[in-house]
């Protein structure tokens, strides 16, 4: 093992050396994006902590006031559980930002319960345990990594059984909760840089398109989100213009309303 470890370190060093001696990659200064249209993958949905990391760099955020520890009702509809699961994972990232170990441990348990409710508990059990262990040790980097692994494992497990739509709802739940917190923070201390983080028109279009293809999920919450995204679109899809304080306030009202709808029974 020691020998292997030494070899591994050598390989990593070799790769790093490659980066130092590799040729700077020559690339055209401009490409025609329209010509790429047939080969473009769907937009990649960022993790909540990508957003929170950028937000944190704009100034101190009182993350503790955004930590949520309400007990959710027990849903039986899988789309509702998927939305809630994405929301709770985002709550985990918020609790990590707040360095709130009890909340993180509670969220680890809730994630596991929700994953079981949706039939992917087996793939989440080790991650939930790792989240709780890392929170006990206040190893926040590990908690973040495990939350990322949790979301990835949930979505891979869903994709493997062709539940891609539920997987997309997990992403949507996380995105809505992240946007709710972002707008809440920016509303309190408005700055153009903070508001610019809401400039996510392709993500919005992605979620709208996905929701339109979920006609089998005939649930009030799905319709509420669809209607709300129609309200959101003109507020953030504004080209090169700046997102105003008034728009941030409206976005916060909309996402807070949706957040409440996701966690409560109809």
């Amino acid at each position: 093992m020691v020998l292997f470890s030494k070899r591994l370190n050598s390989m990593v060093a070799a790769v790093f050396g490659l980066a130092l001696c590799a040729h700077g990659a020559q690339a055209p200064q401009h490409v025609n994006i329209n010509q790429l249209s047939t080969t473009v993958e769907d937009v990649v949905v960022p993790l909540p902590n990508e957003l929170f990391g950028a937000l944190n760099k704009l100034g101190a955020v009182n993350w503790k006031e955004h930590v949520r520890s309400d007990e959710e009702p027990n849903f039986t509809e899988r789309p509702r559980i998927a939305l809630l699961l994405g929301t709770v994972i985002a709550d985990g990232f918020i609790a990590v930002q707040a360095e709130d170990a009890p909340a993180v441990k509670d969220i680890g348990q809730r994630v596991l319960a929700l994953a079981k409710g949706i039939g992917v508990g087996n793939s989440i059990t080790p991650h939930a345990k790792a989240i709780i262990d890392a929170a006990d040790k206040r190893n926040w980097a590990n908690v973040r990594q495990e939350l990322d692994r949790t979301q990835n494992s949930v979505q891979q497990a869903m994709n493997e059984v062709h539940d891609e739509k539920l997987s997309q709802l997990v992403s949507l739940g996380g995105w809505l909760r992240g946007t709710e917190v972002l707008t809440s923070v920016v509303k309190q201390h408005f700055s153009n840089d903070g508001a610019e983080l809401l400039h996510q028109p392709d993500l919005l279009t992605y979620f709208q398109t996905r929701l339109q293809a979920m006609s089998e999920f005939n649930l009030p919450i799905v319709h509420q989100i669809q209607d709300a995204l129609v309200e959101v679109k003109p507020l953030i899809n504004i080209g090169n213009a700046r997102i105003s304080a008034e728009s941030v306030k409206k976005l916060n009202e909309i996402t807070t309303r949706l957040g409440n709808d996701i966690i409560k029974k109809d």
Binding site: A19, A25, H30, V31, T39, V44, A141, D148, E196, H199
Partner: protein
Amino acid sequence: MNPFAKVLLCTTSLLAAIVVLPSAIFAWVDPTTVYARAFALLAAEPYVKQGFHLREDYWAGELASGERKAVRQQLFKGNEYWFWLGTEVDGAKESVHIYDSHGELAEQPDSWAKGHFAAAHIIPKTTGSYFIIVSVEKSPAARTHWALAYGFR
């Protein structure tokens, strides 16, 4: 590279990725791109040690020489990102570059490509959509596997 050396390198690389990033590799294994992913993770490793958070999710596929693929990505001003591309095919020349929503090259000058690896670095000037363009410029294989991972801090 002779076949034995190639198998040895691939196996060692895969083991390296397994040891360093266990959950990342076991999260989901696509047998057709597993080696390409191992190389992408190997390229990421030095940067992870510098504090980049390696995202678990990744993108993979196969391309013929001269083909390219774009991944649309939401990036946030304030963060710093690296994208790492890997392939297991000897003699393949691959690249990864980052363009903004207007099609303008947006990456830092320290982006690089060498052997089985390529990497692109960006500190976004604005929040919004970017295109990560992966291409296989030449390859001895009819189809070349690729895998793209990314990290941020």
